[in-house]
């Protein structure tokens, strides 16, 4: 059975791209979220195997969302999507419970490696 994924990013562009990468690798995209609040709600509803999480989002940022999600499910597997120059935020996200991170611009191989590490 393929792994289920919830994609959280406020940019449709990014959601589409991450979704395409994962879908081509055989993952099942079960949901998308545009804000941290949505991410938490959808995580609770969908219980996906994997979450990709943008750091900067309106309403509730990715880090707070990770915190909420891991509080709800300590085994949650969240992969942070960050940009260059966000070291401190990524560290904070990992302290909050994220399992790994990828850095934009995304290269499919890098994303899939990170996903394997997270799910591994």
């Amino acid at each position: 059975m393929s792994h289920t994924v919830l994609i959280c990013d406020d940019a449709i562009f990014m959601r589409t791209m991450v979704g395409d990468i994962l879908q081509q690798a055989g993952f099942e995209i079960v949901g998308e979220a545009e804000t941290g609040i949505q991410a938490v709600e959808k995580y609770k509803a969908l219980k996906p195997d994997l979450v990709t999480m943008d750091i900067v989002m309106p309403d509730m940022g990715g880090i707070d969302a990770v915190r909420e999600i891991t509080r709800f499910d300590p085994a949650a597997k969240v992969l942070m999507c960050s940009a260059m120059g966000q070291q401190a935020l990524v560290v904070e996200a990992i302290q909050a419970g994220a399992k790994d991170f990828v850095v934009k611009p995304f290269q499919p191989s890098r994303v899939l490696e990170a996903v394997q590490r997270v799910l591994g």
Binding site: F13, G61, A88, L89, V91, V103, A114, R117
Partner: protein, 652 residues
């Protein structure tokens, strides 16, 4: 990866962000201390940067990166928002728009070097110089009972500092981390080559330690060194702490001064952006749907004509149902094409601000009715004329502050852009409280050009409108870079007319000018009154029809040699459609009048017969060669015959 697939998505989404950025910049300019617009700006620029980097758009990436850095400094209050910073940010937003446009079209982006340098300058002045940390791998501080692990990261590891943090986190699950070389703070700042060592007090075997560290990712090599050379006599962990090799509190990772202190709150707060949920559909699809439904409407008309001849109750009933479904479908498709005007209007505040600045005027610009909806293609068409009206108002209408004061007006000029729904039309109105159109100058110029008689001393609103709307008639003698020369109200009037709308102008000297464009909600399908003259059918768009009536032969009167129609208390000029299409009149027959109304002007048009109302699908045409400038388009009727659509504006 084939990025071209994403180019369009990138373009539309980043344009929305640029629009939101401009919006936030205006908010920030009004309230330079506010944190909310800064957070929104940061988010917008940040998102564009991420997308652009993914697309490989270097110019956009560089530009958004510098803007982001600058905004980050603003956010951290290391940079104060003043006029200079605002100026750089506004220029940045403009440059972003241009580079996005250029790079998505595969054109070279204009040089932004000077702007980038200026941004860097501001950021550099703000930023405390980062403490230079030791980066070389020196002697490994040895530790009692510890194992030293040499780790090498992959050459192109992104965010090395974070990766190291994850590696150290893994190491800590195996035992106590005693020391690192370089110091942990240096490692976390990412300012090292890629090699580092750590000393760990652990019972785990070498294989287990190496495996755990490699599992953190991007580890090219993890090698547990033989303890023999590592231990050089006892050194307390306190000594290690003093040497800085170990951070004072290993549980608290945020130790480095060079780390920007993360502020998750600012990233999460301030959702002032427009919230709209929708899916993206290629506009061409909607156009195709619209064309198809248009054909369907025509077929329905044909079927109805056939059914009227066949006279079968079953057919009538089925057809009634089918045509209701067609109507519903048509409504749905029309509605799906409607977009709120703010999608175009939202860029105007920025434009007005720039225009006001370059002319040294203070303008209070208000937009009303942002949520009013128009057909997408109509909205695209109307943008440019509205820009023109706004620029005109700032450039020529509103006075400079001192002139306003002298005239007893508040120094800040008011400019209002409003969208209103009025029956089947939408009104777009631009009004200012400026000096108004100088009638004496219009009159003088009109006399010079021989457009009015020398003896005239006054102009009516209507006459003035017609003069001002004449191609090439402009009362401003100087050319400004805003409105240019020769393109004035006339260009706007022509465009609005070609969209099936009309333009109205009101101006009171010293009090201001209001220009109103009345537009049909959609371009493609309009409701029209069909009328017969001889064997030809003509369509008159309902937008301009106020009523229809029968007229017995010869009841109308003649005033000053012109035929008129007395309608209640009003006297309207009467036009014979037969005259217009060069057919002989039929004097002794009962005829019908369609009363037209446009911008407070009315007229009656005489036709042979009325066929009733119908939705017609407008097919634009460029006009018949040497034909009458009477028609704005054509349509296909139910019986397959074509009908010309009267351009009401030319009749009035």
């Amino acid at each position: 990866m084939d990025a071209s697939r994403y180019a369009e998505l990138f373009l539309t989404e980043s344009q929305e962000h640029v629009s939101a950025i401009n919006h936030s910049l205006l908010t920030l300019e009004r309230a330079p201390g506010a944190s909310e617009p800064v957070a929104a700006l940061f988010r917008g620029v940040h998102t564009i940067k991420g997308m652009a980097a993914t697309m490989g758009y270097q110019a956009v990436t560089d530009l958004s990166h510098e803007m982001e850095t600058l905004l980050d400094n603003v956010r951290k209050q290391a940079v104060r928002v003043d006029a200079g910073v605002m100026d750089v940010l506004f220029k940045g937003a403009d440059a972003l728009e241009r580079t996005i446009e250029a790079e998505t079209k595969g054109r070279p982006a204009a040089d932004t070097g000077a702007l980038l340098a200026r941004m860097r300058e501001i950021s550099a002045a703000a930023r405390p110089t980062p403490a230079a940390g030791a980066t070389a791998v020196g002697e490994v501080p040895s530790a009692v009972g510890g194992v030293t692990v040499r780790v090498r990261l992959e050459p192109d590891t992104p965010l090395k500092g974070v990766r190291v943090f994850m590696i150290l986190q893994k190491a800590r699950t195996l035992g106590t981390l005693l020391a690192t070389e370089p110091a942990e703070a240096v490692l976390q700042s990412g300012e090292f080559e890629g090699d580092f060592r750590l000393v760990i007090d652990s019972h785990a075997g070498a294989g287990e330690i190496e495996g755990a560290i490699k599992a953190a990712g991007f580890v090219q090599e993890a090698h547990v060194l033989a303890p023999a050379g590592g231990i050089e006599g006892p050194r307390s962990s306190a000594a290690l702490r003093q040497s800085g090799a170990i951070s004072p509190d290993t549980a608290e990772m945020r130790v480095s001064g060079t780390f920007p202190v993360p502020d998750a709150g600012t990233a999460a707060e301030g959702a002032v952006q427009h919230k709209h949920k929708n899916i993206r559909i290629d506009l061409r699809r909607l156009d195709t749907l619209m064309n198809l439904i248009g054909e369907l409407v025509i077929s329905r008309g044909r079927l109805q004509a056939i059914a009227a001849e066949v006279r079968s109750p079953v057919l009538d009933e089925t057809l009634a149902l089918a045509s209701r479904l067609v109507s519903d479908l048509q409504d749905e498709i029309m509605t799906s094409r409607l977009v709120p005007v703010w999608q175009v209007f939202d860029r105007f505040p920025r434009l007005v601000r720039d225009a006001a600045r370059s002319t040294g005027k203070d303008v209070d610009f208000v937009i009303e009715g942002k949520e009013i909806e128009l057909d997408r293609s109509m909205l695209d068409e109307i943008g440019e004329p509205v820009v023109h009206l706004l620029r005109n108002a700032v450039d020529h209408g509103l006075e400079p502050p001192d002139e306003r004061r002298a005239a007893g007006k508040p120094p800040v000029g008011r400019l209002r852009l409003a969208a209103l729904r009025d029956r089947a039309s939408v009104l777009i109105r631009v009004s200012d409280d400026g000096r108004g159109i100088d009638r004496s100058r219009v009159l003088a110029k009109a006399k010079r050009q021989g457009l009015v008689e020398e003896s005239r001393e006054e102009l009516t609103d209507d006459e003035m409108y017609h003069l001002v709307a004449r191609p090439g008639f402009s009362t401003t003698e100087q050319v400004t870079d805003l409105s240019g020369r020769g393109v004035g109200i006339d260009a706007v009037a022509t465009r609005v007319r070609s969209l099936g709308g009309s333009l109205e102008l009101r101006s009171v000297e010293g009090e201001g000018t209001t220009v109103t464009a009345r537009l049909p909600v959609t371009l493609a399908i309009v409701r029209a009154v069909l009328a017969k003259v001889n064997d030809e059918t003509y369509a008159v768009p309902m937008t301009h029809v106020s009523e229809t009536m029968e007229l017995a032969a010869g009841v109308h009167e003649t005033v000053k040699g012109r035929e008129v129609l007395s309608l209640r208390d009003d006297v309207l000029p009467l036009v014979h459609l037969r005259d217009l299409v060069k057919l002989p009149r039929q004097p002794d027959r009962l005829s019908h009048v369609i009363v037209l109304e446009m911008a407070e002007r009315r007229a009656g048009i005489l036709v042979d017969r009325l066929l009733g109302q119908q939705d017609i699908v407008v097919k634009q045409f460029d006009g018949v060669r040497d034909g009458l400038p009477l028609f704005s388009g054509a349509t296909i009727l139910g019986d397959g015959a074509p009908a010309l659509i009267l351009d009401v504006s030319t009749l009035l």
